[in-house]
Symmetry: C2
Subunit: 433 residues, 2 copies
């Protein structure tokens, strides 16, 4: 049992090499997709001024979830970044990049939530956003990227749930005469718990706020999800509300532009918890394992205005890379099997001159080969081989007494148990694959 005081804070994790190598690979593959779509990286600090974060995420986040603090040495209040979207909004207002601005950002965010499976207090997000366009083509590009990410890792049974805040607002306006924004957001956040607490409880909570009749109406709306995309659009067109119409027009174009519209399902119960969305919203889930959404995002045309003092539309999505990794491992799409970047290890016995061995290591490294060198000669070669095997290093270069006397090296492939004698280190390059 590892002592509690050796653990990092609750909800955060250490990553040993075999996991970190896997994670780096996952990040790189995602990043590669972002780049393919013409997005470029930015970075912002972990620590933001409290004022930057305040008032952006809704009540619960602000009062319970943001890592918010003062230092003993200053009166300023700080917060650890809660997502990568608000920092982007500040960034855009500060630098005024050429629009449309397509950026990605891979980094940690912090939420003081109760940790559970797939949920951490310190975790990574991979965000991709388009700033400065209100075109559904931009919305579709975000969804294309999400689809590419799922396909890159070999997920088969994924669905992108799609909705639009304008549709929600319009429906609630028209069918429920609900216009008060605060109540609307409250109800959004209740509906957002649908998957967690179930329909009955959701409707019960809503009933307590807006009464029986309206709660039943919402129940009816949620029922529409059983229809297919065409039928839902048809129903929405029949509602006769301007907001709904805008949303429907946008969703229709997104479906038309999408590279895989069969993966997209309109879902009127999708609301997204955050306050700042204004148009298209989406969440992507895999059917198995049941792990929550692996990606989510949407359009937020008013957020940047809070910083820039002028309206700059934006749309984006976030890959929930922690869950993607967990799901990938569970499905066998990812394997934490590579323990090391080292390609070859040098095995040498006690009687060999260390300076000589080090020269060999230098030479291999100059050849571009990742070379592991231990700092003590060993008693016998077999021990050295066992050591390299435990480290996951595939190839060994043996420098024993016999080798030195006869001026050659023994090269060994520990996986295929193949040995060969070589005279020059150049040969190593050809022998390793």
């Amino acid at each position: 049992m590892v002592k509690d005081w050796l653990l990092p804070p609750k909800g955060s994790r250490d990553f040993p090499p075999e996991i970190q190598i896997l994670r780096k690979e996952v990040f790189e593959r995602i990043e590669r997709i972002f780049q393919k779509y013409g997005f470029d990286p930015i970075e912002t600090p972990i620590v933001e001024k409290w004022e930057t974060l305040a008032g952006k995420y809704g009540e619960e986040a602000e009062n319970r979830l943001i890592w918010r603090f003062k230092l003993p040495y200053s009166n300023r209040e700080f917060g650890l970044r809660y997502d990568l979207t608000v920092p982007l909004a500040r960034f855009v207002a500060r630098f005024r990049p050429k629009l449309p601005f397509k950026r990605y950002h891979i980094g940690r965010v912090f939420r003081y939530d109760e940790p559970q499976k797939g949920r951490y207090r310190e975790f990574w997000q991979c965000d991709v956003d388009i700033v400065g366009s209100n075109s559904p083509l931009a919305d579709a590009e975000i969804l294309d990227i999400v689809i590419d990410v799922f396909e890159e890792f070999g997920f088969k049974n994924f669905v992108i749930k799609l909705n639009d805040r304008r549709i929600l607002r319009g429906l609630f306006e028209k069918e429920l005469e609900l216009k008060n924004k605060q109540i609307l957001f409250k109800i959004y956040r209740i509906i957002d718990k649908l998957d967690k607490i179930g329909k009955e409880k959701v409707l019960k909570e809503i009933r307590e706020i807006i009464g029986n009749r309206k709660s039943e109406k919402i129940g009816e709306l949620l029922e529409k999800n059983k229809l297919d995309n065409e039928e839902i659009l048809e129903y929405l067109e029949s509602v006769g509300n301007k907001n709904v119409e805008e949303g429907v027009s946008s969703i229709s174009k997104i479906l038309e532009f999408s590279k895989a519209k069969e993966k997209i399902k309109i879902d009127l119960s999708l609301v997204r918890g955050l306050d700042y969305y204004t148009g298209m919203i989406y969440e992507a889930i895999v059917e198995e394992p049941k792990i929550g959404s692996l990606s989510g995002g949407g359009r937020y045309d008013n957020l940047i205005e809070l910083f820039a003092r002028e309206k700059i539309p934006a749309v984006g999505g976030s890959i929930g890379v922690e869950r993607l990794i967990d799901a990938g491992l569970e499905l066998g799409l990812l394997k934490a099997e590579k323990k090391t970047y080292a390609k070859i290890g040098i095995i040498y016995t006690k009687e060999i001159d260390q300076k000589f061995v080090k020269k060999i290591a230098d030479e291999l490294r100059n050849l571009g080969i990742n070379t592991y060198l231990s700092f003590n000669g060993i008693r016998n070669i077999a021990d050295g081989i066992k050591d390299l095997e435990k480290r996951g290093i595939r190839y060994a270069l043996i420098v024993g007494k016999r080798e030195v006397e006869n001026k050659y090296f023994t090269f060994q492939d520990l996986e295929e148990r193949r040995r060969s004698e070589i005279e020059s280190l150049e040969e190593v390059k050809k022998l390793i694959s």
Copy 2:
């Protein structure tokens, strides 16, 4: 002028794409060297329990520099990591990796210092450490890596200042009868300011603690720096103290093993500020620009014991990547010129069907080409070309009315002002370099 409320906290920075692309490249080049030497990556959280950090860095850090805080929602005290070494010590105690354990770690650390040129409150370190060996060969490997990093980026006039805490301790014991650890550390920290405040002030501050005679003795010791390595070693051998002898033997072997001993200069005034060093210590500087040390580190054989409850020796170094970048930019070794990863941009006019254009983008991306697509058709091609040039995108694929009607594309190299008509997008792959 950018408004104050659009800036991140004092001492922290936003990185726009052109800087971030450069930084990523620098990190990758450093990482590549670490891997070449057989090191593997780990990751640990930004937020540590306060107890993990407490008592590890000395008084000043603990009481003024560590980002230390509580949240409104919990009574636990936290700290942002101050370096990557203490987290490594905790990590080793927790996971007990196979020794020697060679790991690298690239990430942010936080120090609530007064910001100035090259000094930030939130900044990146690139650390490389060997845990579980007390061999000078391990020490030499760390210095080799530092030398490789400098050479990788083309720094010419760099020097590695080398000293050993055992030598310092022995000299102070023997020549000054100074054994009290607290006073020793106080004096180390004063000597550490030598470059900043000059010899006179250093000796004055020391005088106030241990009096005139001993302060003069220290002045004499500092004078020894004018000697060359051989002469200093000769002098040290003449001292006749066991600690000094241990240090001298270690330094001699390091010089023997080093791949570039002409770059190493023994410096008896080098002390390093942190309390945890026990043996070899080093700092690497470039002669121009005057920017402070670009790398520092040393041996810390007792630190891990604080977590592991058993003695596990370790040695490591940290690349001060912020200063390396600043110095590299100043010397012209690095250039922030690449503005984007996007290779090609599609220019299309208003009358072209967007769905058709999007298909072209999809196809280029499928070919592995980073493709920028704007979300609105433009009025004339020239505007589109200007836009791509501003974005730093080198190639353009023009899809105008003429092209669509006659079923071809115009490919243009904006740098070499070369145009060609192509029929298949496959050709783009050959045309871009």
